[in-house]
Symmetry: C2
Subunit: 332 residues, 2 copies
């Protein structure tokens, strides 16, 4: 019986002279920039130029990244993330007066549109042909809600308070993250990073990937994946050292939550880790900082959850408050 081995550790690491986890810089040398990188650079630059000099700006990343298993991609590893946290938080930060750069996984949830993405039968299920004038319009039961979201969405877009940039793969995401970081760096403390995207921890380097679709043959498949370098490190230390950085830890094992959050703060030296559990993330999060011994708990009740209250409202208010204090502290 054959066993298909996609890549060996030795092959995968050959250009890195034996290091197990490669440099972030090396990663960029060995992977291809996404096709929208130049567009993103120009759009973000123009977006920032249009902001008042004291405007708070937040970068929100949202959705999961994919890791291709083949160069001609048929299969990929994906991270679970509908993009609820990120898209909902974007609405909240806009309401708090922030300008929002929303970097999201294509087809994940988007601010304002997110409420109309879960229907089983798509766009058409919200529409009807009017019996009076024959025009296609939104069904009456959806009119008020969609009108409110449509007007907010259009106003934020027209007022240059919301910019949306999309990605699909891990590589797309990392190139865009570096680009936005370098463009936000000059804003110093005024810029917040809210890194809610679910980024893959493992990848197969492009040069050691299978060229064609992996054949199933009659045996098992062994995939060896390399660890993705931790990009929070260059982000905090080099790309945007004066900005206010919030990262996320999603776990399924409650015993790991605190230790992993504290470890990240110690290792990267950024401002906040939001820890959350896969099962309870919609109503409970823990906010960790280097200064505080105990985490700050944010939670909403089951009644609030059922009534449609988003925990991101309290979370964004708390972060905006801490961001304000950070700006004040660093402006002296």
């Amino acid at each position: 019986m054959s066993e298909t081995t996609l890549t060996t550790t030795a092959q995968a690491l050959s250009p890195m002279t034996g290091r197990r986890v490669i440099d972030p810089d090396t990663y960029f040398d060995h992977n291809k920039a996404p096709s929208n990188l130049q567009w993103a650079h120009t759009s973000i630059s123009e977006f920032l130029q249009k902001q008042p000099s004291d405007q708070r700006v937040v970068l929100i990343t949202s959705g999961g990244t994919t890791v291709p298993l083949e160069n001609n991609t048929v299969r990929f590893v994906d991270n679970f993330s509908a993009g609820t946290r990120g898209s909902c938080s974007a609405e909240q930060f806009l309401a708090l007066g922030y300008a929002v750069i929303f970097v999201y996984r294509e087809k994940s949830l988007q601010p304002f549109n997110r409420h109309y993405s879960e229907s089983k039968s798509g766009l058409l299920s919200y529409l009807e042909v009017s019996s009076s004038d024959g025009q296609v319009r939104v069904k009456s039961e959806w009119q008020d809600r969609i009108k409110r979201d449509l007007i907010m969405f259009q106003n934020y877009m027209a007022g240059n308070k919301l910019l949306m940039v999309n990605f699909t793969t891990l590589s797309d995401y990392l190139f865009l993250l570096r680009e936005v970081s370098l463009l936000l760096a000059p804003l110093g403390p005024r810029a917040m990073f809210y890194l809610a995207a679910a980024v893959s921890d493992f990848f197969i380097p492009s040069y050691s990937m299978a060229e064609h679709k992996i054949q199933s043959g009659d045996g098992d498949l062994t995939l060896r994946m390399n660890q993705v370098p931790k990009f929070l490190s260059p982000l905090v230390k080099k790309w945007a050292p004066e900005c206010f950085v919030v990262s996320f830890k999603l776990e399924t094992d409650p015993d790991l939550l605190g230790p992993k959050a504290r470890h990240a703060l110690g290792k990267y030296g950024h401002q906040v880790v939001i820890a959350n559990m896969l099962d309870t993330r919609k109503w409970q999060v823990w906010l960790f900082t280097r200064e505080e011994q105990a985490p700050h708990v944010i939670q909403i009740s089951q009644e609030q959850l059922a009534a449609g209250v988003d925990i991101e409202q309290d979370l964004s208010i708390e972060l905006a408050r801490r961001h304000q204090a950070y700006v004040t502290r660093h402006s002296k």
Copy 2:
């Protein structure tokens, strides 16, 4: 340096007494049915009861399946498939008078809705607030097209000619495939199977899966995946032996296309394999049968492609013609 090994071949196969590729029946014993299985059973039964006695029925499967890497799923392997082939084919078979059971990956393209799923800003980008009556309606440039699709969609649904059933994981898909097959079997030659979904070839059995999110630690990740049993075999031989079955082969290496299509026909004994290449699948497919030496080529020109012609139109007409001949042959 540590290396995380998710599962060993020995562990993964322990309940199968040493066989590398498990029985389809064993698969169902060891995996959990999807939550919509009972609903699907009832809905499909009722749908079929409402059809005239000579109604042609086609099962169309569409979109890719996911394979979870953890029991508390954060990561999964996915197969590339937007669902274009399946959703477009559903429209074509409806136009040809078929009743369509559309089994699709959640969030993949759906018939009629598929034209309005690629917009970067979602539902809201198709809408405007009318300046005359303040109602939210479809923008004038989209009125005609959306109206046509909306009316067709509503008519097919109201007329019991289209039923939609959704899945996400490989396991969901396989349970639903068996269920629909057993329900379609009594129709004999009148039922067509059009298996366009991109189904994973490899999986990690639930009982040998990591319980929690895999930790990245400081090393590589090795994933050992078992081969998925070939479900076309029980489908053709046991579940629905008299039906007309069309399977698909998607490849990226052109040299494998013919040999793999012929191998599948020989192995499973079904009626048609549609072979296609990842790069050219939108304008060229090859139709293989056991009876014919050379494949029947279906293709459209680049001009047709650019003008919005779907190759699925010619493909469905050709298959309906062959299905008609099959029905006639088996009714004597």
